[in-house]
Assembly symmetry: C2
Homo-oligomer: 136 residues x 2
DNA sequence: GTCCATGCAAACGATTTGCATGCGT
DNA sequence: ACGCATGCAAATCGTTTGCATGGAC
């Protein structure tokens, strides 16, 4: 069982219903856009405001509790922080699936796509960090 | 020498000054945001409109002449279509550098970062394509 | 000469902000 | 009880659209 209450507290944040709802929805659905989250939470907590979702997503990303998954040609999605993995992003329905590959080679990616019946069009590998000029 | 005139024609597009300017700027700078491009071209062609840059970027992405590089926490950048490579994205200045790695392993990525004096924080591997449900 | 592309201004939609109130601690 | 978080409405910003004019072919 997940203790998101504790996770929020240890990140220096109050454990509000809205925040717990966001984290539970991300756990349930895996990858969600802001609107996905708002629509789902609106059913459980009709008084929730879209601005609250925006503010919380921003806060949770800053605190590194969740991760932004920017998507070419669509709005960003968000996921709970977890160990490294690969995203299969559908350019038609914008769904995102997680997969793991030990060693990333052109061939392994093709096999991975094949396994999931995913028609692979292109891959993008991004490393985030701090460049030489911005250090110190 | 690059013949962007020909590239545009073969993509079914008219070779206008504005489009040639966008491609040349991408070649010169590597990775640019919409605003980067607009600011630079505005100096050479003061009459250029921001709407024209938006329209052309959209058209060039659709025709697969350029590629969108969506960036976590910042606006997308764009690059000329070229062979597969890795992006080193600085979370401070948002610069993007290209690198190539034969085989992607945790260790190789760390060596790559080390070589460039890049402090690596996290990596994101995205495969774009069409999922099983959206085929046929 | 034709048709697509440009530039402008207006429209639109997504995201942020300010502030009074509510709730977690 | 204190102070952060929420919800609302207004403001802001990025992006798109419509249309008259210009330019590539």
């Amino acid at each position: 069982m997940n203790n998101y209450h504790e996770l929020l507290k240890s990140s220096g944040l109050k454990a509000t219903i809205q925040r717990l709802g966001i984290l539970e929805e991300l756990q349930k659905s895996g990858h969600c856009s802001i609107d996905d989250i708002y629509t789902t939470l609106k059913e459980k907590y009709p008084s929730i405001s879209l601005a609250t979702v925006y503010k919380n997503i921003q806060t949770l990303v800053e605190k590194r509790v969740i991760i932004e998954v920017p998507i070419s040609g669509a709005k960003s999605k968000y996921e709970l922080k977890k160990q490294d993995h690969i995203h299969l992003i559908c350019q038609v329905c914008n769904s995102v699936e997680d997969e793991s590959v030990e060693v990333v080679t052109q061939e392994n990616l093709m096999l991975l796509a094949q396994k999931d019946s995913f028609i692979l069009s292109r891959s993008q590998i991004n490393l985030y960090g701090v460049c030489r000029n911005c250090q110190g």
